[in-house]
């Protein structure tokens, strides 16, 4: 029995890691979408987190917890610099300000010799693993469900449905947007750090536009009615290429198509139920 489980784990190790990491990424984009904003910088934040964590671990030998904390803090700081000024403008501005981030991080990491340049960073010691990934996913998921059930969740939903009305009812729009953006970029950074420490290698080309759009497709397929939905979307979209092997080459096209179909025909995703409120 244990032998079978062990074999299963070793065979599908990267897939198991991928589902967990992508689940956290789906939650990171959920946080922004839940307040009616759109960030296209999640892949870049993930990349910054991955490089921050991996550099600290490899070059300075910091404990895993410190690497993780820094991997959350640095992307959050970048999000404030880039997204901060857009918080008083309409949602389109945040989307535009963050859309170039993937390209920028690629250029920076590609030319930064200390971080390996074009060769990337290899030999990252394996830390965390399945336990850390799924532990983080569970903690974040539960925390976000609790938030969604509270007064804050109600305010977030009000912003999403009608920003002007929510503002008139006394919701502090810029503050909610800012908090959502910071939390979301920190989560993406953590996901990047976790995945860097299980894959032992990171490269400058992994965190571009395609990755950002793929992360968005998790949330659009699942829906954003509750935090569970984007995680489900991430699991489906991570498993899909494995199940449909012949499709693997067209994975990006399928992701694009899913976004188009989801927005046009299933605006509430495949898991549309809303969470019950307590506040």
């Amino acid at each position: 029995m244990w032998q079978t489980l062990d074999d299963f784990y070793w065979t599908y190790q990267s897939l198991i890691h991928g589902i967990g990491v992508n689940g956290i990424l789906a939650l990171s984009i959920y946080v922004v979408l839940a307040v009616g904003q759109l960030s296209l910088g999640q892949a870049a934040f993930m990349g910054v987190g991955a490089y921050t964590g991996a550099l600290l671990t490899v070059k300075f030998g910091t404990p895993f917890a410190v690497s993780m904390a820094a991997a959350a803090a640095v992307p959050a700081l970048i999000a404030l610099v880039v997204g901060g000024p857009t918080l008083r403008l309409t949602g389109v501005y945040l989307a535009i300000a963050t859309i170039g981030l993937g390209e920028i991080t690629r250029i920076v990491f590609l030319n930064w010799d200390y971080a390996g340049g074009a060769l990337g960073l290899s030999g990252i010691p394996e830390k965390g693993g399945v336990l850390a990934i799924y532990g983080t996913l569970a903690v974040v998921l539960i925390a976000l469900i609790l938030v969604a059930r509270s007064r804050i969740g109600r305010a977030m939903e009000a912003m999403r449905e009608d920003e002007a009305a929510a503002g008139v009812m006394g919701v502090n729009l810029p503050r909610y947007r800012m908090t959502a953006l910071v939390v979301s970029s920190g989560l993406a950074g953590i996901a990047g750090c976790l995945s860097a420490h299980v894959s032992s290698f990171i490269g400058p080309n992994e965190y571009g536009f395609e990755t950002a759009v793929t992360i968005l497709s998790y949330a659009l397929l699942g829906g954003i009615g509750s935090p569970v939905a984007p995680v489900l979307g991430a699991a489906i979209l991570t498993l899909l290429p494995e199940v449909l092997r012949p499709l693997a080459d067209f994975r990006l096209m399928v992701n694009g198509l899913i976004i188009v179909v989801a927005v046009l025909f299933m605006p509430r995703g495949i898991l549309p139920w809303r969470i019950a409120r307590t506040g």
């Binding site: 296209l40 989307a95 694009g256 046009l264």
Partner: protein, 293 residues
């Protein structure tokens, strides 16, 4: 040295201004950030490449053909993607996300069918030679690029500002419902604008493809970063601002590449974008608009 860089900056800036003009026209009239715009850019370049290689057309004929094909594709994609959302008066982020998905789909499709290697125009396209004016050397191709970009910009501005069609387009941009009551066919105007901006994007693709002599499916994606910077720096939907910001970015990039480092060239656009968001969020000539629910 500096004079030469300024000439290069003017040529590059003119193509950026042209690219941004189509992008900002699309946003100004339809109220949608249409990310598929970068695809039209690549489509125009590929169509021109195909017509110079396979049909042996001169570049003067390949440019309008590339623009035409890109414009037709723009109308088709816009109709397919956005009609439904427009009817439902969906929020702007929904439209943005639809075009985002379509962009990923189209780029991946183009990369799969055309390959990602860099293609080049046949050498015959560039055989015009160059003029030496003291320290400055200007190629005929550069003159062609600059001339075509300026002519297109002037034609578009004349159309939008000075013709009845332009008046109708501006009316639809201002208020679609009121324009419809005045007897303007709103759906037709949106298709005209789609065609115009797609064709301008395609023409910009041909010219930028000529300037760097490098064409590949993702060229539009790299260009979009500059497109975003230019429309934010110029102010969303502001045609004049897009022109000024396009030229500004062209100069900034050429000077950064020459005097700082070519690595930083690609970061210039983003630095300008972030600086604008911090200090002049409504753009170079922007003024705050009243927010309506």
């Amino acid at each position: 040295m500096l004079e030469q860089q300024l000439v290069n900056g003017v040529v590059l800036g003119a193509t950026y201004a042209l690219f941004a003009l189509g992008f900002t026209l699309m946003f100004g009239v339809m109220g949608v950030i249409n990310l598929t715009y970068g695809v039209y850019f690549a489509v125009g370049a590929f169509a021109a490449l195909w017509s110079t290689q396979a049909l042996g057309l001169p570049i003067a004929a390949a440019l309008p053909l590339g623009a035409l094909i890109a414009g037709v594709i723009a109308v088709a994609i816009d109709t397919l993607l956005l009609t439904r959302l427009r009817k439902a008066k969906a929020p702007e982020l929904a439209s943005l996300m639809v075009t985002l998905g379509a962009t990923l789909f189209l780029y991946a499709g183009m990369a799969a069918s055309l390959g990602t290697e860099i293609r080049r125009f046949p050498a015959a396209v560039f055989d015009g030679g160059a003029y030496d004016l003291g320290a400055v050397r200007i190629g005929t191709t550069q003159i062609l690029i600059f001339g075509a970009a300026v002519a297109l910009v002037v034609a578009l501005m004349a159309l939008v500002r000075g013709s009845r069609l332009g008046l109708a387009i501006r009316a639809v941009a201002e208020n679609p419902d009121a324009a419809a009551l005045m007897g303007i066919n709103g759906g037709l105007m949106l298709r005209v604008v789609s065609f115009l901006s797609g064709a301008i994007g395609g023409a910009a693709g041909v010219l930028v493809g000529l300037n760097f002599n490098a064409i590949q499916p993702f060229m539009g994606e790299h260009m979009m970063l500059r497109g975003f910077a230019v429309i934010i720096v110029g102010g969303l939907g502001d045609l004049r601002g897009a022109l000024a910001a396009g030229l500004l970015l062209g100069f900034a990039e050429v000077l950064t590449a020459a005097y700082v480092s070519s690595t930083f060239k690609d970061l210039t656009a983003f630095a300008l974008l972030v600086a604008t968001l911090w200090f002049r969020p409504l753009g170079l000539f922007g003024r705050a608009a009243a927010k309506r629910a």
